[in-house]
């Protein structure tokens, strides 16, 4: 078959073919996209494979024009080189900046450096997502990271305004940036089974309760949390209160038995994690600590998800319940704030 030296099709209006756009986002090269479309039966009667191929090429060329513009979404909506309807503009940005959880799982907690970009082949191998798509996702993170890093003010708003992303997606990016900034340990073997969404839920919780709008963790709070150590003096009292609150079959037999025996170690781990957070090293290890010291022992003891939920609710002591708290009134506030973020993290890790 003779391939024309030149064969282009240009419209005054940029009418996007979402199906081909998706294939492009997924990183398919032109021939593979064409054969996928063919398998889906996109050839009408009378159409030939080279028409389909040409069509995909036309779209791919305009997508690469689009891609240059999409680097700065605010310019993209202002540009008039391609005439795109306002609805399509929004959808295009959202789809371009959307990502695969599996790929993002590999990227979180690492600085988006050129070195990391070179390792995308591994990510591709691991996730089955084509390397072109991995690169796009990585470049998007890096772009947002670079831009938002230099800005002050509300991170979520910055992402929304600079990249014109819808709220849920902006929130996910905020969590990604947060995980990167703090450099949380997310890649240890013990955490390997966790998904991106697990980390998103955890990070989102930490952001909500421990950080300000600039995603800066409340260092003062961590310093204050050291005072929580005092509660360990009243460990017995805490145990009694907890067990009393969990009476009446709120725990499964396995968990109830385990808790009576191991309350001390669980409780101490929780408190130790809290008091260590002021050291950035331990902060980075938050997830691994929670996993190793809380989630795994309980899983070994065959706790159920609802056991864990009840337990977290039960140890959320208020000022009246523990003697220490009655004396030092700011301690229960610290403790409850600590648990508000850590509690959902534990539950999320436990569920996975």
């Amino acid at each position: 078959m003779l391939i024309p030296e030149l064969d282009i099709f240009v419209g005054n209006v940029f009418i996007i073919d979402w199906e081909i756009f998706k294939l492009w986002l997924d990183g398919h090269e032109c021939p593979s996209a064409a054969s996928i479309l063919q398998q889906r039966g996109s050839l009408m009667a009378g159409a030939t494979m080279d028409m389909l191929h040409g069509d995909v090429l036309d779209h791919y060329r305009s997508f690469s024009t689009l891609e240059r513009l999409l680097e700065v979404p605010t310019l993209f909506v202002e540009q008039r080189v391609l005439q795109i309807s306002p609805n399509d503009q929004t959808d295009i940005i959202e789809k371009y900046y959307d990502f695969d959880d599996a790929v993002m799982r590999e990227l979180i907690g690492k600085k988006p450096s050129s070195k990391l970009r070179k390792e995308l082949d591994d990510v591709c191998e691991k996730t089955g997502v084509l390397v072109r798509s991995c690169r796009r996702q990585f470049d998007n993170v890096r772009r947002i990271y670079k831009q938002v890093d230099e800005m002050t003010g509300n991170v979520l708003d910055n992402i929304r305004q600079q990249f014109l992303l819808p709220d849920p997606l902006a929130r996910r990016y905020a969590a990604i940036l947060f995980l990167d900034w703090v450099r949380f340990e997310t890649h240890k073997r013990k955490l390997a089974h966790l998904t991106f969404n697990d980390f998103f839920v955890c990070a989102d919780g930490l952001l909500r309760h421990w950080a300000d709008e600039e995603c800066e963790l409340d260092k003062e709070f961590f310093q204050d949390l050291r005072e929580i150590k005092a509660i360990l003096e009243r460990e017995k009292e805490a145990k009694t209160v907890t067990l009393r609150k969990l009476e009446g079959g709120r725990l499964s037999t396995d968990a109830a038995g385990d808790l009576t025996q191991n309350f001390r170690s669980l409780f101490r781990s929780l408190v130790n994690i809290a008091t260590g957070l002021y050291r950035s090293r331990e902060l980075k290890d938050l997830f691994i600590d929670l996993q190793e010291k809380i989630v795994e022992p309980c899983k070994c003891a065959r706790w159920t998800q609802s056991d864990m939920e009840s337990f977290i609710a039960a140890i959320n002591f208020d000022a009246s319940e523990i003697e220490t708290f009655r004396r030092e009134t700011d301690l229960p506030i610290l403790w409850r704030r600590y648990l508000r973020a850590v509690g959902p993290c534990i539950l999320q890790l436990f569920a996975s």
């Binding site: 024309p4 099709f9 005054n12 009378g46 060329r61 540009q79």
Partner: protein, 1005 residues
Amino acid sequence: MPGKVKVRVLAGRNLPVMDRANDTTDAFVEIRLGTVTQKTDVCRRSLNPQWNSDWFRFEVQDDAELQDEPLQIRVMDHDTYSAHDAIGKVYLSLSPLLAPELISRADTAPAGSAGGPSVISGWIPIYDTLHGIRGEVNVMVKVDLFSDFNKFRHSSCGVQYFSSPCVPAGHCVQAMLGFVHELVVNDDPEYQWIDKIRTPRASNEARQTLFSKLSGEVQRRIGVNVIEAGGNAVIGYRQCFDLEGETGIVVRGIGTAVSLVRTEARPSSPSPLSRQPGSGRDRDSDPCGSPHLPQPPAAASAASVPAVGAAGAPAAASVGASAGAPVGVPAAHTTSVEGSDSGDKLSRSLENDTNFKAPSSTTSSGADTKLLAQLVTTSAQQRGQQQDNYESAEFPFITLRTFPSGFITHIGGTVSARSVKLLDRIHHPEESETRDAWWAEVRTEVRSHCKSLACNVVLGYEEATTIWDDVCVLSAYGTAATVNFAALGLSEPLAAARCDSREVRSALRLDASLTSQALVILEEPDSSVSNCAPCHLPYSQGSAPASALQFNCAVCRKSKVPDVVFSTIEPPGGLPVTGRGCLVQARVCREKADVKSEVLAKEVSDRLPFLEYELHRQLLTKLRILGMNALFDLTIQLSIGEEIMVAVATATAVYLSALPPPVVPRVTSAVNDSADRLAETQRRITETVASNREAFNISDQDESGRTSDEESEDEEDKPELDLAAGNKDACILEMDDTEDADLLSMLMSRPPPELFDLVSTSSVPGVPERLLLDDRQLFTRIVRTKLSSASNRQLAQTVEKIIQGLYFKLRKLAPCALCGLRFSVDLPEDDEIQISVYGAALSVSAPLSKQASLRSAGAENGSADGTGEGPVGDRSAGRAGSVTGALKTQNSLWRGDYDVIITPLPHVTGGKVERWLGNLNFFFIRECTGLREVGGLNGFMQDLITEVLAVVRAHVTSLGGNALVSYFMSQCVLLPNPHKNQAQCLVNVGGDAVLVGHAARSDDG
């Protein structure tokens, strides 16, 4: 007229990084008009500079300069130590700002609400010939003209230009003043010695600037003629750039000079009736207000003009190729000016006549118009005078393709003339006489063809050149017809009279007796609204050559009609059509010797007649196989290459109810042993014809209006059968060898798939316009491929494949109708062919082939055209300024609100033109020195076309518009040099900028 141009440069955005060291740009802007240049301050270190300049003023002594010179805005990067770097340029034509508001027929029109734009303002892409679009600049431009009432002025300021080949919506032609033409020649900067030492950018820009200037100059010169003739506008304006290479460039303009008035008292008032017939949007707004049903046959003869006897060729294409013996320029006619000089401001003094140049003078002035010089009046007598003047003019040509109902009395057929010329160097750029004389010859020939068909005017007139090496073929063609000038503006007062006779009287106060007079004449065209007269032969029965076939008209049964009609115009409104129209194309490819100069000229002129004959034969056969009997909107593309010549004729085939049903082509063969194959082929042809008739809803004719007269029906059928045996015109296909067999299979090209309709006309003939909902997309496809052999078959396959590709590319918009298709064919290299096609994809609610209402479409067309009434609901919208807003709020999702619509059609489907904002014409040059880096030729061209459209849209927006109608793309010259990793492309685009509102479509079911 002296004038003042005021320019403000507000800001730039998204500029490229020019200073790599710190990733910024120190931008400033140079504004240049003619020889004067002014500058803004430098805005340091910003890609989004804010200049917020004061008004820069340019004082111009002569408005000619304003018309010729584009305003050049050049964005530069300031460099302290070396030369400033160019970022890019914007060329702004000032002519849209020079057009005054046209006189409105109604006094009530609020001033300034509906005239041309008063300011150019907005973001315009900065274009660089080496990099394409590089950011945008926000400018504001105003022009103040100091009108001095100098009697001796030769100013052509204020003449409006419309590319649209029809009377612009909202306007009415008061007088049609004649064919105007002008050409200027110049050296092409690309071939000047200085080009060897200047940079590619400087060279490209010199060219772009020159082209822009020449284009302005041609317009201005035409304008002078128009004003001398007492007109104020040119419609059907076409401008061409002939790139002759070494010998220079020629810019030609042709058009129809008219005196135009606005018809709308308020933009919200009843819509204009001067809108092209066949445009059904008028009707849409008032579906039941047009009581006109197809006229009974008896009424049809009312409008027929006494036929003039003449020896005419059959009403098919009359072709001729002249190798160029000079034809004597007809002696100058004496000018006769109507006596009733009413002191109209457009009148001119006879003394000026002495300044007129003869037709063959150096500037090729439009000689016809001054012969037609007359007052702008609407009296019917004067229209009669106008008709006489037009008919006796040197070139009674009209470049429009769409006409008011009743204007065309008879269509004679297509006439064309070609002339092969040898180009030689133009020594004095000021002397354009050679080219003028050439064109005069060709035009004279067309005129004589027209006369021999007993016709008095040529409609849908076109001119084109084909250049290869130093040989140039001039082609001119059009449709010979007889017309009735009395019908020109009449539909308008008619409707106005219906709405408010008082308004009419005040509007037409030029002539007190006018109203009554006009109303009397109204009867005539009105009764002929749905008649079949245009189909009738313009000459009497006896005078026709014996070979010409004649039949009784199937509608009125009185007059004679030919068996087939070929024409270059849109189907006249009201003409009864059966079924739907569809695209038909003939493609001929011939080998030619690779010779030079005189030998080449000889070679070309020897081959041309064969090419044309073959073209005609193909068209006729294809038409018959489609089961149709008329061609409209015929265009012919001729292209010459090193070893081949190609001609492509594109038209829309229609079944005219008045004409006899086409004969099924017969196959014969001189070879005896192929009887089986012959029978088989004959069967296939018959089947194809039948399936085509079904596909295009061409039902059995006997149902519709034919049954009334059984006897004549029989009489009609008999001669057909006889003629089929012996007459050449009865369509007999010879199949003597395999090549012929191949040809036959090629002739039976597939009809478009069910979901698509394909036509070259501005709407689908036989389909009421209300079924065409929305102008969804302007598409451009450019293919350049190897032609492995110089055979018709290979060419046909290539083009068919491109068409098939269109269906595929537009599959997600289906069902849709692809209208206004324009093809162009070039043979850039020895075995390469470049084919460009563009058109409008109109959305339809269901495939047209499925819509039951089509059967009565012809009748519907007839009833509504020319008498359609304006949108009733719009009246509530009230005063001018609020109309756009009011229309917008009716449907906030209409794409005209956020998109700039570009369409090759003269109207926006689904919209209503509210203001005409000026004619745009751009010449882009783009060069690329990193072809591979931009994705090869495909990437280069896709970017170029995308950016060209973006620049056009921005200019439309800056004039306050939201659409460009009658869009054209010509001269897409691509010069690739893959070995050097380079390419260059020239492209000429343009059209009419308009503001459209969303048409109320409440009546749509």
